[in-house]
């Protein structure tokens, strides 16, 4: 067993874990942070993406012990004081999710991407989230949502963006 001290969504945890424990399994099984999910076993799908010290990582590709002394943010810790993060809000407004299984990872990847590229083109967004697979949406509304969120974050407006038009 190995000891790990990690802050997850603002709460500090001290645990002993099997050294082989992946961060995603630690989050789900030890901490009950089941908002973060496992979609594959080859680090392709990105469903398990969380922020490690503010940067996106696939939590299936990180050992829990590698997160020792660090700060993890999951989709459960993104909203503040009951207000959705602009990316969450934009995913809702733009219908950027259907079954929702890829959504936690997609949102966290988008949050990290927008920290690096606050004013992205559609093409940059597509490149930026290519490590996250979605089977439902065809990505079109995800790209729109991330673009909307970027605009909202640039204007510092975390309130609900104006209702968006639907082209159907």
């Amino acid at each position: 067993m190995a000891s790990v001290s990690v802050t997850v969504d603002g709460v500090r945890y001290d645990d002993d874990v099997e050294a082989r424990t992946l961060l995603v399994h630690y989050l789900r099984e030890n901490l009950g942070k089941v908002g973060t999910v496992v979609g594959c076993d080859t680090s392709n799908c990105g469903a398990c993406t969380v922020l490690l010290n503010g940067r996106s990582v696939k939590s299936c590709s990180v050992l829990a012990v590698q997160a020792d002394g660090q700060e993890v943010t999951t989709v459960e810790g993104l909203a503040r004081d009951g207000v959705l993060h602009p990316v969450q809000q934009a995913f809702h407004d733009r219908h950027a999710l259907q079954c929702g299984f890829c959504t936690p990872g997609m949102i966290m990847a988008a949050v990290s991407f927008l920290a690096d590229e606050p004013n992205p083109t559609g093409e940059q967004i597509r490149e930026g989230i290519e490590g996250n697979l979605c089977r439902c949406t065809g990505y079109q509304n995800i790209v729109r949502a991330i673009s909307d969120a970027a605009a909202a974050m640039r204007s510092g407006d975390t309130a609900q963006p104006a209702a968006t038009e639907v082209s159907v």
């Binding site: 979609g39 080859t42 809702h92 999710l97 990505y139 079109q140 082209s167």
Partner: protein
């Protein structure tokens, strides 16, 4: 309560989804989240070989591992494990081999379960698999369908004497739905014949399948990541001998399905047996690698298709001969999947004669079964590819050939050569809209100039004018096709005393947005607020009956049941309202959420007022049951027939073979739209799944029957970076057969898009002598087609 002002219609509004609140914040309830006191975990040992006799198997070492509580083999449960079900015996003489959840003497595909371990932790269960000792004696491996049908072929099931499961034939002359196909071909001025290959695909829902079985209560409760909780309850009861009322199935949040979660699976049954044996809750969650090799695959057909026409482009007849790979056994509805396509090869065209023949073939591969569209994408692909080939043969524009043959809007309802009556549609309107959005003529001009200049990048234009049959399905037709169940759907509406509403639906959503769309329908019908409606589904204890979700049926069938249940609630409330309004029941009218005395303006009584009145029941008219709640079951009288025109422009770099989608326009007519946001999302996702078949995905086996695409490294789902923004629009031809006018949208995109893309690729390369590129059209295949002599690769 007071009567509210006229509220805007909910149906047609782009309501943001109720489901999202939990999904974007991680407050979800996936099956794998469930943890119960004393819960054990199951791991499954799978066959590493495609066909072998199990000469020796021993789980004793695994059983003695730390943390392990049980381990068993097929032989240990052989006397009661039975066979996983196939519910669609398409012919009376269909060869239907047993499919035991755990192989007993013989394995017939890589990934077939051979033993399980149950332990107190997931890790302990998985670790102990390596202690299981199995000896396999190789048997001949059967992979190629045509070889499998040859005289003297090796057999997947040696006791059956054949690799053919069934042959199913339809002929319009014999059926009385059209002319004799042979005579039609005898009159042909032009015959075009092609062979198309529908590669094997893997549905690839994002949530791996998971099941938890809890045997500790008075009933056995099963949580499963399934599309079909009600069908699973019925079948699991029969298969395990557990009385049906003692089995409860819950499909909690389910992360996608696309047909891939239609089935009663080996893992569900094994978890059930393990839980019952141990008296403890048991959980099994597959890894993605498990999933790709063991959850059912889709498509995998060889299509020989032949069209007879006159020189002016008028079609005379169509012949289709299909081989459908069933895999090693028969999946729940697998034999019927090609039949769902059988009625669609004639598509939107007025064929006078049609013959269809399909044989289901066993091979040593993972089973196939329904995958988004199930039979209809295959049919649409073949006919839409062939219409392009006919156009080339005749020197006509491909859209012109279609126009000369399609059913005109004034000809609906139209009974086709396959015997279906298409109720409505307007192919002209959808096509005109799509052509305008696409800029067809300008793109053709650019294509000509690129061809003339010998540009390295060539442009191709692809058309798909599709229809589909969905809203599965009229029970009588399913019966006539020997399917094992009906096609009705159930809904219930419960009026709570505070005026809130609970809606129960028998279809089981896994991304479709039922909670939102159903709320919109009920809000309009009952005049209650969208927010005051709760939609319940996916639990056989609350949703007591239903036939679940597949075949674009939830709205087109379940939505009508819901509408009817709403009408019954209004009827139930009428005498109560009349009593409160002190008028005769015949003088009461209901509109905009209120009962009023006919012709009298001002305050009336809402359904909520009536609900409170029957809750108290202090002052009801004599003989009135204190109840407003109602349920309805709707059995459709016909399928529904969405249609549309999809246009795709591709740029092909002839030196690298890379295909880039330049423009994609989809104009779909799915009848009346309840929520345009949800409809657009369904089209986006469907179109991309179809594009993925055209360009990216294929399940590949090596010569020994190993699945080479056994992980997401090799089974290449497209990412956002592989795709471009598409343009969507719609026309609206309401379904005339029922009051909502809806048609279903779940499969349309996936049915339409594949031929649009491949037609565009072939069109780009046509001057180089190319008349086909096999799917998926990878850069290598496209490059070979573009650059090697003869064109067709």
């Amino acid at each position: 309560m007071t009567v509210t002002d006229e509220r805007p219609a909910e149906v047609g509004a782009p309501r943001r989804r109720k489901e999202d609140a939990r999904l974007i914040t991680g407050r979800t309830n996936w099956t794998d989240n469930i943890v119960l006191p004393g819960m054990h975990y199951m791991a499954v040992l799978r066959s590493p070989v495609a066909h072998a006799r199990i000469s020796h198997i021993d789980v004793s070492a695994a059983r003695s591992r730390s943390g392990v509580v049980d381990a068993f083999t097929g032989a240990d449960i052989a006397d009661f494990q039975g066979s996983l079900p196939c519910a669609w015996p398409v012919t009376p003489d269909m060869v239907h081999p047993n499919r035991p959840p755990l192989a007993v003497d013989e394995v017939r595909h890589v990934g077939e379960p051979v033993a399980v371990v149950i332990a107190r932790s997931r890790n302990a269960a998985v670790d102990a698999l390596e202690a299981i000792d199995v000896d396999y004696e190789d048997l001949p491996v059967v992979l190629d369908m045509e070889a499998a049908l040859a005289e003297g072929a090796d057999l997947v099931h040696s006791d059956k004497g054949t690799n053919k499961s069934y042959t199913w034939i339809f002929e319009s002359g014999a059926a009385g739905t059209g002319a004799s196909t042979d005579e039609a071909f005898a009159q042909a001025e032009v015959v075009v014949k092609r062979r198309y290959k529908q590669q094997r695909l893997i549905p690839s829902f994002m949530e791996p399948r998971s099941v938890v079985v809890d045997p500790t209560g008075d009933v056995i409760t099963v949580w499963s990541s399934t599309q079909i909780p009600h069908i699973t309850r019925f079948l699991m009861s029969l298969l395990t001998g557990t009385p049906e009322h003692k089995v409860r199935i819950i499909a909690p949040d389910v992360g996608g399905g696309f047909g891939g979660k239609i089935g009663v699976t080996a893992e569900e049954m094994l978890s059930f047996f393990a839980a019952r044996r141990l008296g403890k809750p048991v959980k099994y969650t597959e890894t993605r690698s498990d999933s790709l090799v063991s959850a059912h695959h889709g498509r995998d057909q060889i299509q020989d298709i032949e069209i007879a026409a006159k020189r002016d482009g008028t079609v005379l007849g169509l012949r289709v001969n299909l081989l459908a790979n069933m895999g090693a056994y028969l999946g729940l509805v697998a034999p019927g999947v090609p039949l769902l396509g059988a009625f669609m090869y004639n598509a939107i065209y007025k064929f006078p004669a049609y013959r269809f023949e399909c044989s289901g073939v066993f091979t040593n591969t993972t089973i196939t079964d329904a995958y988004r569209g199930a039979g209809r994408p295959e049919a649409t692909y073949a006919i839409e590819r062939l219409m392009d080939e006919l156009a080339v043969e005749l020197g006509l524009d491909p859209m012109e050939v279609r126009r000369r043959n399609w059913i005109r809007h004034e000809e609906f309802p139209f009974t086709t050569v396959a015997g279906l009556t298409y109720d409505s549609g307007n192919y002209e309107a959808a096509t005109d809209k799509a052509m305008a959005l696409f800029g067809y003529d300008a793109l053709r001009a650019e294509q000509a100039s690129r061809r003339a200049s010998g540009d390295q990048v060539q442009l191709g234009l692809g058309i798909s004018t599709y229809t589909e049959m969905c809203g599965l399905a009229p029970s009588r037709i399913l019966g006539a096709l020997s399917y094992g169940a009906g096609g009705w759907e159930h809904a219930a509406v419960r009026m709570l005393p505070t005026g809130k509403v609970e809606v129960v639906t028998g279809s089981s959503a896994h991304g479709q947005g039922h909670e939102t769309a159903w709320s919109q329908i009920v809000a309009d019908q009952l005049g209650v607020a969208f927010e005051d409606i709760e939609v319940l589904h996916g639990d056989t204890r609350t949703s007591v009956k239903g036939l679940d979700t597949y075949g674009s049926r939830s709205l087109a069938v379940g939505g009508i049941a819901l509408y009817q249940a709403c009408q019954k609630v209004i009827e139930n409330a009428k005498p109560v309202a009349a009593h409160m309004l002190e008028c005769d029941v015949n003088d009461v009218e209901f509109s905009n959420g209120s009962f009023r005395v006919r012709g009298t303006p001002g305050e009336g009584k809402t359904l909520g007022d009536c609900a409170l009145a029957v809750f108290a029941a202090h002052n009801l008219p004599d003989g009135i049951e204190p109840n407003l709640d109602a349920e309805a079951v709707y059995d459709p009288t016909n399928f529904s027939f969405p249609h549309g025109t999809h246009l795709c422009a591709v740029e092909i770099d002839t030196e690298t073979g890379v295909t880039k989608i330049r423009k994609y326009v989809a104009v779909d007519d799915v009848g009346r739209v309840v929520n345009p946001l949800i409809v657009e999302g369904q089209i986006h996702g469907g179109v991309v799944q179809g594009i993925a078949q055209a360009l990216f995905e294929e399940a590949v086996y090596d010569g020994s029957g190993n699945l080479l695409t056994g992980s997401f490294v090799d089974y290449t789902l497209p990412s956002a970076a592989d795709l471009v923004e598409m343009t969507t629009d719609r026309t609206e031809s309401p379904a005339p057969g029922h009051p909502l006018g809806v048609k279903g949208v779940g499969e349309a995109g996936a049915i339409a898009s594949t031929p649009a893309v491949v037609n565009a690729i072939v069109d780009a390369l046509r001057p180089r002598g190319v008349n086909d590129v096999e799917m998926p059209c990878t850069p290598e295949r496209v490059w070979r087609a573009a650059n090697l002599s003869g064109g067709a690769q």
